[in-house]
C-alpha cells in the first residue's frame, strides 16, 4: 500500500506542476504592419524624392484566410501603407489597380502579421493585360450521392467587360505540377515561363478570330457532358442547355449532338475533361502560342494565360498555380460530393455586372450551395 501511495503522490504532483502557462500581454485585433508599394511595370509615375514608382493613395486589401475577413487600407502620399487593428493571422495582401480597360498593375504578398511590426515590408507591382474573359464558376465536387457520380462538372466563362470578346482558339487546361517544383509555373528550356498542363481542350477557330463571340457580361457554360445529369442522379443538375461541351475523340466520351465541342488537343490524353473534386487548378489561354511540348510534358506560355483558378477544399494541399496567375485559393471548405460550386463574387455592389478579378481567388471567389450554370448566384465567402 505504501508503494501505491508513493506512486500516486508522484503522479498527482506531476499534474500539479504541468498545468500552467504564462498569460501573453498583447490582445488580438491590434496588429500593425507597414508596407511600401512599388510599381515595377514602369506604368506609374516616378517619385522625384525616391526615384521609385510609388503606388500613392491606392487601395491595398488584406485577406485573412484563417477567418475569411478582409481589411482595406490606403497608401499615403509617399506610397506607404500603415495597417492597424488587424487580427493576428496569415494574410494575403493584394493590390489590383486598373490603369485602363486593357491593363492593370497588380501584386500580392503572403505574410504572418501579429503584434506591432515596425520594419517596412515591400509589395512590388507588376503589369498585366486585363482579361475580359474570365473563369466565373467551377463545379467539380459532384452531386450528393453514394455512387461516386461526378460527371456533371462544368466550367463557366464570363465576359467581364462591356465589349464583345471572342473565344476562337482559346484553350481550357487542367494544370499539373511535378513533385520537385514549387508550383506548376516553370521556366522551360527556351527560357520562357510556362504553366504545366495535363489536359488542353481548345475552342474551334483560330486565336484572334471572330467566329465565336461572347457578348458583354454574358455567361458561357462548358459542360463535361451537356446532358441532364438528373436522369443519372436525382440530386445532380441539368446541363443540357450548356453552350459548349468538352469532348475527347480518344475516349469513350459522349458527344451530344447540336452542342459544339471544346476538343482535346493532346495526343496523350485519353479521358474526358475530368478535374479534381476538391483540389485542382484550371486556366484559360488565348491559344496564341498553342501548347509547347517537351517530351511528354505539355505547357502553356504564361503570357497567353487569360485567367486561372486554383481551388482546394483545404489550403494545406499543394498548389499548382502561384501569384503570377492566382495568388489565392477558391473552393475552401467544399467537400467532395456536396453539390457545391465556387463562383466569383461581386465586390462592388454598385456595379453588379462587374465580377471580382484581382488575380486572387481567395478574394474573388465564394461558395454556392448549388451550382448556377449560365447565371450568377449568391456565393458566400
Amino acid at each position: 500500500m505504501k508503494k501505491i501511495i508513493i506512486w500516486l503522490t508522484v503522479f498527482l504532483i506531476t499534474f500539479f506542476i504541468m498545468s500552467c502557462e504564462d498569460k501573453p500581454n498583447d490582445v488580438d485585433r491590434t496588429a500593425k504592419a507597414k508596407f511600401i508599394v512599388i510599381d515595377t511595370s514602369g506604368t506609374l509615375d516616378i517619385d522625384q524624392k525616391t526615384n521609385l514608382r510609388l503606388f500613392k493613395n491606392g487601395t491595398v486589401t488584406f485577406f485573412s484566410r484563417d477567418y475569411g475577413e478582409s481589411f482595406k487600407f490606403k497608401t499615403d502620399e509617399n506610397g506607404i501603407l500603415y495597417a492597424d487593428g488587424l487580427l493576428a493571422s496569415h494574410y494575403t495582401i493584394s493590390v489590383n489597380h486598373q490603369i485602363s480597360e486593357a491593363f492593370s498593375v497588380f501584386g500580392s504578398k503572403e505574410k504572418d502579421i501579429y503584434g506591432s511590426q515596425n520594419e517596412v515590408d515591400t509589395i512590388y507591382l507588376r503589369g498585366m493585360p486585363s482579361s475580359a474573359v474570365i473563369i466565373n464558376e467551377i463545379y467539380a465536387a459532384g452531386p450528393v450521392n453514394n455512387v461516386y457520380y461526378m460527371f456533371d462538372l462544368f466550367v463557366e466563362l464570363y465576359n467581364n467587360s462591356d465589349e464583345v470578346q471572342y473565344l476562337d482558339g482559346n484553350i481550357i487546361c487542367r494544370c499539373s505540377k511535378k513533385d520537385n517544383e514549387p508550383s506548376g509555373i516553370i521556366t522551360a528550356s527556351d527560357g520562357n515561363t510556362y504553366v504545366r498542363v495535363i489536359y488542353a481542350f481548345q475552342f474551334p477557330g483560330t486565336p484572334g478570330g471572330k467566329q465565336y463571340p461572347i457578348q458583354p457580361y454574358e455567361f458561357v457554360v462548358v459542360a463535361g457532358d451537356a446532358v441532364d445529369h438528373r436522369q443519372a442522379v436525382s440530386t445532380s443538375i441539368d446541363l443540357s442547355n450548356a453552350q459548349w461541351e468538352f469532348y475527347n475523340k480518344q475516349s469513350t466520351d459522349i458527344d451530344v449532338p447540336n452542342v459544339p465541342n471544346v476538343e482535346n488537343i493532346l495526343s496523350k490524353t485519353t479521358t474526358d475533361f475530368l478535374i479534381g473534386l476538391t483540389n485542382d487548378a484550371v486556366i484559360i489561354s488565348s491559344g496564341k502560342k498553342g501548347v509547347r511540348m517537351e517530351g511528354t510534358d505539355a505547357m502553356i506560355d504564361l503570357s497567353t494565360v487569360l485567367d486561372g483558378v486554383q481551388y482546394m477544399s483545404n489550403p494545406i494541399f499543394t498548389r499548382k498555380l502561384d501569384g503570377r496567375v492566382d495568388a489565392g485559393t477558391a473552393g475552401i471548405g467544399i467537400p467532395s460530393y456536396s453539390g457545391k460550386s465556387m463562383e466569383r463574387v461581386v465586390l462592388d455592389k454598385s456595379n453588379p455586372k462587374k465580377h471580382s478579378d484581382t488575380n486572387n481567388s481567395t478574394v474573388d471567389f465564394g461558395v454556392n450551395d448549388k451550382p448556377t450554370p449560365g447565371y450568377q448566384g449568391n456565393p458566400i465567402q
Binding site: 501511495i5 500516486l8 498527482l12 504532483i13 504541468m18 501573453p24 471548405g333
Partner: protein
C-alpha cells in the same frame, strides 16, 4: 421482518423505481437533505456535517467522519424536456445511472472507500454542438450543421484511502477514473471519447478536541477526443464549424479529430470548529484553482487550435448555531461563499490573447430549522442571495459585455417521523435568475418540488426514495419558454454486509 420480506420489499421498490424511470435534478448522495428542499445549512445529518469531509471533501478526514462500515446502492432516473435552454444546450435529456459505494474501516487507523458507477445520459435535440461541454469552458469549440441526440454512457471507478501514522495527524488519498463515450445519432455522427482522471492528496491535523485543520491538493486531467469521419453511405466529408469564441468560426470539410486536453488543480486549506456542547459549528475554507485546456486538431498531423486557462480563488464560511438560550430545538445557519475567477484564451502559436473573462460572486445564505420533537416534525427554511458580476472581452470577435446576474433562492423543507422506521419528507425550492439585459441570458424562475421517504429495516438496511419535479419558466418573454424536469432515486444503505 424476515429476510424474505425484506427481499420482496426491495424488489417492489426497485420495480416502482424503474416504472417511474423518467426523471430529475443532479444525483446527490445526501438524499435526505435533497428531499427537504436541499436545506444544507440548517439540517443536521450524518452526511451533512460542517466538517472537513462533508464540506471540504478532504479524504484525510474520512476516518473520523465515517466510523462504521456500510454499502450504498443508488438507482437514478432523470429526464427533462423544454424550450428554455441556451442555444447549444439539449432540448431534453434522459439519464439513468446505477451507483455502488462501499466503505470499510480496515483497522482503527485506516479506512477505504470504493465507488463504481455506470450511466447512460441521452442529450436530446442538441443544436449543432458536438462536444461534451460548450458553456463554462474555453472558447474553442466545434459544431456541425445538424440538430440531433447525443448518447453519452460510461463507467466510473473511484477509491478513497485514509490513514493515520501519527496521533492526531491523518493523511488522505483519492483517485477517480471515468471513461465516457458519446455518439450523435445522425450524420455527421461524431464520436466523442472522454477520459476523466482526478485525485487528491490531503492531510488533517487535530489541534484539540474542537478544532481540525486540513489542506488538500486536487489535480485532474480530462481528455476529450471528437472524431469526425466521412459518411460511409455517401462518401461525403463532414462539414464542421470550428469556433474561436461565439462570433468567429471557420468551416472545415475534412474528416479530422479534435483533441481537448484539460489539466488543472485546486489547492486549499480548511478548518472546522465544534464547540464542546456541539451547539456551535463553524467551517471555513479557502482555495486557489487553476486549469488549462489545450485544443488540437488532426488525425495524422496534429495542429494546435488554441489554449485556454482559468484561475481563481474560492472562499467559504459556514456556521450553525443551536440557540440553546431560546430553545434547544432551534438551529440557525449562515453561509458566505466567495468566488473570483479569471480566464483567457490565446492564439495557438502566437503570444496573442483572443479573449478574457472575469467572474466574481458572493453568495450569502441564512435560515433556521425547528424540531418539534414531541410530534416528530422537523421544519426548515433558507434564503440565499447571490451577487454575481461577469465580463467578457472577445478581442478576436470584436465583442464584449459586462453585467451582473443576481440570483435568489428560497428553500423550504420538512420531515415527519411516522414511527421509528419510517420518515416522510417534502421540499420546495424557488430559484430566480435575473441577469442584466445586456448579458443576453434568460431571466427565469425555477420551482422545484421534492418528496422523499426513508424506511429503516431492523437497523441494518435503510431504504430511501426520492422524487423531484421541477419547472423553469422564462420571464418577460413572448411566447413563454419552459423546461420541465423530473427525477426518481432509489437508495439503499446497508450498515452490515
Amino acid at each position: 421482518m424476515c429476510y424474505t420480506d425484506i427481499k420482496n420489499f426491495l424488489k417492489v421498490i426497485i420495480i416502482i423505481c424503474f416504472l417511474i424511470i423518467n426523471n430529475s435534478s443532479l444525483f446527490s448522495q445526501i438524499n435526505r437533505i435533497e428531499s427537504m428542499g436541499n436545506l444544507f445549512l440548517v439540517i443536521e445529518d450524518e452526511d451533512n456535517n460542517l466538517n472537513l469531509y462533508d464540506r471540504g471533501g478532504n479524504s484525510a478526514f474520512l476516518l473520523i467522519d465515517e466510523p462504521k462500515d456500510w454499502l450504498k446502492i443508488n438507482l437514478l432516473s432523470n429526464s427533462g424536456n423544454g424550450s428554455l435552454h441556451k442555444t447549444y444546450e439539449p432540448a431534453g435529456k434522459n439519464n439513468y445511472s446505477i451507483h455502488f459505494e462501499a466503505l470499510k474501516n480496515i483497522d482503527e487507523n485506516q479506512t477505504f472507500k470504493g465507488i463504481i458507477d455506470y450511466y447512460d445520459y441521452k442529450r436530446k435535440d442538441v443544436y449543432r454542438a458536438i462536444q461534451t461541454n460548450i458553456y463554462g469552458s474555453g472558447p474553442f469549440f466545434i459544431a456541425d450543421s445538424t440538430t440531433g441526440t447525443i448518447d453519452f454512457y460510461g463507467p466510473k471507478i473511484a477509491f478513497e484511502y485514509n490513514i493515520s501514522f501519527i496521533k492526531d495527524l491523518y493523511l488522505g488519498l483519492n483517485f477517480s477514473y471515468g471513461g465516457e463515450k458519446g455518439i450523435k445519432k445522425i450524420y455527421s455522427k461524431p464520436e466523442i471519447t472522454n477520459r476523466y482522471i482526478s485525485g487528491q492528496i490531503s492531510m488533517v491535523y487535530q489541534l484539540n478536541e474542537n478544532i481540525f485543520i486540513g489542506a488538500k491538493l486536487d489535480p485532474f486531467y480530462n481528455y476529450e477526443k471528437i472524431e469526425l469521419v466521412k459518411d460511409p453511405d455517401s462518401g461525403t466529408d463532414p462539414i464542421t464549424f470550428k469556433y474561436r469564441g461565439f462570433k468567429i468560426f471557420r468551416k472545415s470539410s475534412d474528416d479530422y479529430t479534435r483533441h481537448n486536453r484539460n489539466k488543472g488543480f485546486d489547492v486549499g486549506a480548511q478548518s472546522s470548529y465544534k464547540s464542546q456542547d456541539k451547539s456551535l459549528q463553524i467551517f471555513i475554507s479557502g482555495s486557489y484553482f487553476r486549469q488549462g485546456i489545450e485544443y488540437q486538431d488532426g488525425t495524422r498531423d496534429i495542429d494546435k487550435e488554441g489554449y485556454w486557462q482559468e484561475e481563481g480563488y474560492k472562499g467559504t464560511l459556514e456556521t450553525r448555531y443551536r440557540l440553546d438560550f431560546l430553545d434547544k430545538n432551534l438551529l440557525f445557519g449562515l453561509g458566505l461563499y466567495y468566488r473570483n475567477f479569471e480566464s483567457w484564451s490565446k492564439h495557438p502559436q502566437l503570444p496573442i490573447i483572443f479573449s478574457e473573462n472575469k467572474y466574481n460572486s458572493l453568495e450569502i445564505g441564512t435560515g433556521f430549522s425547528y424540531n418539534f420533537t414531541d410530534i416528530g416534525l422537523l421544519l426548515g427554511i433558507e434564503y440565499h442571495k447571490t451577487i454575481c458580476d461577469s465580463s467578457l472581452n472577445d478581442y478576436l470577435g470584436n465583442y464584449n459585455f459586462g453585467g451582473s446576474h443576481p440570483k435568489d433562492v428560497i428553500r423550504i423543507g420538512t420531515e415527519y417521523k411516522v414511527n421509528n422506521n419510517l420518515w416522510l419528507r417534502l421540499g420546495y425550492i424557488r430559484f430566480s435568475n435575473n441577469p442584466d439585459n445586456q448579458l443576453n441570458e434568460f431571466k427565469f424562475n425555477h420551482n422545484l418540488y421534492s418528496f422523499g421517504a426513508s424506511y429503516l429495516i431492523e437497523n441494518y438496511v435503510k431504504i430511501d426514495f426520492l422524487l423531484n419535479y421541477g419547472k423553469k419558466e422564462s420571464k418577460n418573454l413572448t411566447p413563454d419558454l419552459t423546461y420541465k424536469e423530473t427525477s426518481a432515486l432509489l437508495f439503499a444503505k446497508f450498515f452490515v454486509f
